[in-house]
């Protein structure tokens, strides 16, 4: 436990930096859905040297970053209901077709938020069961089972500091065994058949310190990198 007591030895990524790290890992030429929360921020920080086609569940394919102030169009929004822009080659379509693309396995990757992820890749992100906070499933269950791969983008711990990467999800599942990779504000972690493998960590973070914030056993990749992103 001593590792967690050495406060300020590392700095957590901002939400935008977390989105940046995930965006840089998306293969060139991919068709990628961005879900509600941190994932939709990725559209603003995509790598400029790759052609990646972004999909939004509300009937948009091929969108770009947020518009400049004053250029917002109320008919053009993403899953988080934030304003977006269209890129040349983009298309609009009815909701049923948006989910044909999702459920039918036509998307290479879905980036989703999470309340909890288990060491086996179980995802929980639609309800806490608390009646004061109505549940909201949106497209999460369709995306979780339909995309060819699912990555989760989330803070590593809850606001109370409890692990969000857990042995067993205590919240109801969105889908079992679907998450392949987890980007947090502390690390990039692969979900593999032999367990969780840390591919990258923020500067100054040690495996014992990360393990103390994570329930399932972590293994360090031989080529574990420093997880860093441009400031702001």
């Amino acid at each position: 436990m001593s590792a967690t007591m050495t406060a300020d030895a590392f700095t957590r990524l901002s939400r935008r930096q977390l989105a940046w790290c995930a965006a840089q890992a998306i293969p060139d030429g991919s068709y990628v859905n961005l879900g509600i929360g941190v994932p939709t921020l990725c559209a603003n920080v995509m790598p400029a040297d790759r052609e990646i086609v972004l999909h939004s569940e509300n009937g948009v394919l091929g969108f770009g970053p947020a518009p400049a102030a004053g250029e917002e169009d109320r008919d053009l929004i993403n899953a988080s209901k934030e304003f977006i822009t269209m890129k040349p080659g983009g298309a609009y379509f009815v909701h049923t077709d948006a989910f044909v693309m999702i459920r039918g396995g036509h998307l290479d990757l879905a980036l989703l938020g999470a309340f909890e992820v288990s060491g086996q890749g179980d995802l929980a992100n639609w309800t806490t069961g608390d009646r004061r906070f109505p549940p909201g499933v949106g497209g999460a269950m369709d995306l979780a089972v339909g995309a060819k791969a699912v990555w989760v983008l989330t803070e590593h711990t809850t606001k109370k500091g409890e692990p969000k990467i857990v042995d067993t999800c205590k919240y109801p599942l969105t889908a079992p065994k679907v998450v392949r990779k987890i980007f947090t504000d502390l690390a990039e972690i692969d979900v593999t058949p032999s367990g969780l493998v840390v591919r990258a960590m923020v500067e100054g973070l040690t495996l014992p310190a990360l393990q103390a914030l994570t329930e399932p056993k972590l293994t360090l990749a031989d080529d574990c990198r420093v997880l860093s992103a441009p400031a702001a």
Binding site: S56, E57, N58, G59, V60, D73, R74, D75, L76, I77, K81, M86, Y92, F93, V94, H95, T96, A98, F99, I102, R103, T127, R131, R132, F133, P134, P135, G136, V137, G138, G139, A140, M141, D142, V145, G146, P172, L173, T174, A175, P176
Partner: protein
């Protein structure tokens, strides 16, 4: 006889909607919501409604006004909670509104099934989760699927960009969302269109909703900023 589905105003557009009916309402977030028609329904004073819409409204007008009115018994949607969904949240917390939560792709495909006259479909979405509770599970080619049934409505309220007097429609960008599938899945489809064009004014290659699915069109071209 010339077919003319264009009605003079909102009151004529929503005429005949009765208490106890099931109403689909287009829109995703604030994009593509037929706010004028929703307020037309509110003005009718009808109650005991079932609303089918992706969200449950934010702010004080449109869907949120409907949720706050106490006239909605039940909502079928995928994502009711949003920043500003206070009207719904309060009714839900108080147990004053029933919620059927449906995954978004299942919601739209159930509408399509109703529209297409199909008796249901098997979907991999929600398998192994609480939302599949009580549903038939069938294994097809080694994968598990749950049976989902058609979802139809008495009335669909749809917002479109352009319409002609037959009811052919085109939409604007992401404001299209649920409009085309809801227009197909209701007994009575009522459209508010920002622009009315002459018959033949829409390219047949580009028409999104063919006129057969539309019953009434009202021209709403105001640029009112709704609190939604």
């Amino acid at each position: 006889m010339a077919i003319d589905k264009i009605v003079p105003g909102v009151a004529e557009a929503v005429a005949g909607i009765e208490s106890g009916m099931t109403i689909m309402i287009s829109g995703f977030g604030f994009a593509g919501v037929p706010n004028d028609l929703i307020h037309g329904v509110l003005d009718l004073g009808v109650t005991d409604l079932t609303v089918i819409s992706n969200n449950a409204g934010t702010g004080t007008e449109g869907l949120a006004a409907l949720m706050g009115s106490g006239r909605v018994r039940r909502i079928i949607c995928s994502y009711p909670r949003s920043k500003g969904s206070d009207n719904f949240d309060a009714r839900y917390a108080a147990g004053e509104i029933e919620l059927e939560l449906v995954p978004q792709g299942t919601l739209s495909e159930r509408m399509r099934a109703a529209a297409a006259g199909v008796g249901g479909f098997y979907s991999p979405t929600s398998v192994g989760t609480d939302l599949a509770a009580g549903k038939e599970v069938r294994t097809i080619d080694g994968r598990d699927y749950v049976l989902e049934l058609p979802l139809r409505a008495d009335v669909a309220l749809v917002q479109a960009q352009k319409a002609d007097r037959w009811g052919n429609l085109v939409y604007s960008k992401a404001a299209r969302n649920f409009g085309p599938v809801m227009a197909m899945a209701a007994d009575l489809t009522i459209v508010q269109a920002k622009e009315i064009v002459p018959l033949g004014g829409l390219d047949p290659e580009a028409i999104v909703t063919p006129s057969v699915f539309v019953d009434r069109v009202v021209h709403i071209d105001n640029d009112r900023e709704w609190d939604i």
